[in-house]
């Protein structure tokens, strides 16, 4: 039937379909091009100019934005802070979420396991500022719940967000609380689809639990592990909202105390929107862009060697 229709109007069927197709794709493509690809190209352009958003002229200054940037100690410190944050967040969130997923795996078929899973997942969908507010109070050195618990066990009570050493760990604890649910659910998905026959065969052969985990479960979930690591890396290098809110952004001083939580994204925000140095901020953005790209490529290279794809 269809062939008959095709043969009756072959002349304008294809152009019309092309027209229709592009018409349907147009809204999305327009949004992607105008608000994402154009800025991406634009980013490289602004980085090499002395740029003022309110004046129409911009002067080509070559690499001088980068030269200025590299002489700023704060730039290097923000890079270190970001790497410190990512270096803790990526392994911590990967291992903790895998651990929780293993713990919940058996219970997931019953109602109780599903409830725990939902509770672990809930923080991930909560708005960051709304939940950061209560965490600021939980972290309060004097009246906070956290220090009350630590005090109950006679453990040292750090100053958390008020201390230069503990502000970053406090932010990390919040971020772990907020993000682990997602990774746990991803791991759970992989664990519930493990081939039962392989696990049972190993058990029949008398494999110990640790051996089972190391030699069978770990390789079988490695594609998800890789995915989680990439996701966590990209996510932690771009964390902004929780650092901004927890470290006093609403009061005008995000990234404190004493720049101890000034990560790259906080510094970019402050350079551009508080100190109005757009060229410098975009030079930093370009560095961040390249850093994320480089890390993703490196991880891909590693994954090609160690990830076991079924």
């Amino acid at each position: 039937m269809a062939t008959v229709i095709e043969s009756t109007k072959p002349a304008f069927r294809i152009p019309w379909e092309t027209f229709l197709g592009f018409g349907l794709l147009l809204p999305s493509m327009l949004v992607f091009l105008v608000f994402y690809y154009a800025p991406a190209v634009f980013l490289a352009y602004i980085s090499f100019f002395h740029w003022n958003i309110f004046a129409s002229q911009s002067i080509f200054v070559g690499l001088s934005n980068f030269q200025i940037l590299f002489k700023q100690p704060l730039f290097w410190q923000s890079l270190l802070n970001s790497l410190y944050y990512a270096a803790v967040m990526v392994p911590a969130s990967t291992m903790i979420s895998l651990g929780i997923a293993l713990l919940l795996r058996e219970g997931i078929r019953f109602k109780r396991g599903a409830i725990v899973r939902s509770m672990v997942f809930l923080p991930h969908v909560t708005p960051i500022v709304a939940t950061s507010i209560i965490w600021i109070w939980l972290f309060d050195p004097q009246f906070g719940l956290l220090n009350a618990i630590l005090g109950f066990f006679h453990l040292p009570q750090p100053g958390w967000l008020a201390s230069t050493h503990w502000a970053m760990p406090a932010v990390m604890i919040y971020s772990l609380w907020h993000s682990i649910g997602l990774y746990t659910v991803l791991f759970l998905g992989a664990l519930t689809t493990l081939p039962r026959s392989v696990l049972e065969a190993a058990q029949v052969d008398g494999a110990k639990k640790w051996y089972l985990f190391k030699r069978i479960i770990l390789p079988l979930v490695s594609p998800v592990t890789f995915f989680v690591i990439v996701l966590a890396t990209i996510d932690s290098l771009q964390s902004f909202s929780q650092i901004y809110t927890l470290t006093g952004g609403p009061h005008g001083g995000a990234g404190g105390p004493a720049f101890s939580t000034t990560t790259d994204s906080i510094l970019i925000y402050e350079t551009a929107f508080i100190y109005q140095h757009f060229s410098l901020a975009s030079a930093m953005s370009l560095m961040l862009f390249l850093l994320i790209l480089l890390l993703t490529l490196a991880q891909k290279w590693i994954a090609d060697r160690f990830v076991f794809y079924r």
Binding site: I53, H251, I268
Partner: protein
């Protein structure tokens, strides 16, 4: 023995993740000064006075209106644009389809933080700063939404399309009456995910507006942080009010949300 230990561990984990939300409720509805009591008060006192203050003596409903407006228009636009593009990728023969496909994938690879500065400049030149349009337009297309609908439309039997072609049903009617009703789970998934991401938006409105008239709730909360400083009951009441819609939606759709976030394609199973 170790079985009980594991159960205790599971309960501890659940408590760790749920306690901040519970604590927001405890502080918000506690009696005056309860936030500052040592040792802490662990039970809520159900005093809703502070919440009443936030609702009646601040511009809460203005912020709520902004959030609802921005979220609902974004959801509708994402649905329309994703259905259209998903249909085009699945059913229509378009030249250069692969290139378009990769362009869409590429959007997901662009690191958002690195793009904010040039995006701000683009918004400035389009005169979209400080406008609802500026808060909505950049989020009216979604790669994951497009791919989800594409997947659903590709699974539809070819005969449906052929029958409707024979019956002279036009494409618009086919999409509206046949394709979309059969992709209802995808509609639900895209709606839920867009709702969560839009309602929770913070950095974009923070940068793109400098008037409080346009602020959605999540951004308005930072103003409450300035005004209420140490009034923890009012402050946590505000954050509880901001949390409430998300928590209610989550309670009713948790299975679907978990599946949707864990992998768009699994969202359609129930």
């Amino acid at each position: 023995m170790s079985k009980y230990l594991l159960t205790v561990l599971r309960i501890l984990i659940a408590v760790f993740f749920i306690i901040p939300v519970y604590w927001t409720f405890v502080i918000a509805t506690g009696s005056r000064g309860a936030a500052y009591s040592l040792p802490p008060v662990f039970l809520p006192a159900f005093h809703f006075h502070a919440m009443w203050v936030v609702l009646t003596q601040t511009r809460w409903f203005r912020y709520l209106f902004n959030s609802v407006l921005i979220t609902s228009i974004t959801i509708l636009s994402v649905l329309v644009s994703s259905i259209a593009a998903g249909y085009a990728l699945a059913e229509v023969r378009v030249p250069g389809k692969n290139l378009i496909f990769y362009l869409m994938l590429g959007v997901m690879m662009l690191p958002g933080q690195a793009l904010l500065i040039p995006q701000y400049v683009v918004m400035f030149h389009l005169h979209l700063l400080n406008s609802y349009a500026g808060l909505i337009l950049p989020f009216t297309a979604s790669t994951s939404g497009i791919f989800l609908f594409r997947q659903y439309f590709m699974k539809l039997p070819k005969s449906y399309r052929e029958v409707s072609r024979v019956e002279n049903v036009n494409t618009w009617t086919y999409i509206r009456r046949v394709a979309v009703p059969l992709a209802k789970p995808a509609v639900a998934t895209v709606t839920l995910l867009t709702f969560i991401s839009t309602w929770n938006q913070f950095q974009w409105p923070l940068i793109m507006t400098d008037t409080t008239n346009l602020d959605p709730i999540e951004l308005a909360l930072t103003h409450y942080m300035q005004t209420y400083q140490a009034n923890w009951r009012e402050l946590t009441s505000a954050s509880l009010l901001a949390l409430l819609p998300i928590i209610i939606v989550f309670l009713f759709t948790q299975k679907h949300i978990v599946a949707a976030v864990a992998g768009g394609e699994q969202g359609g199973k129930d």
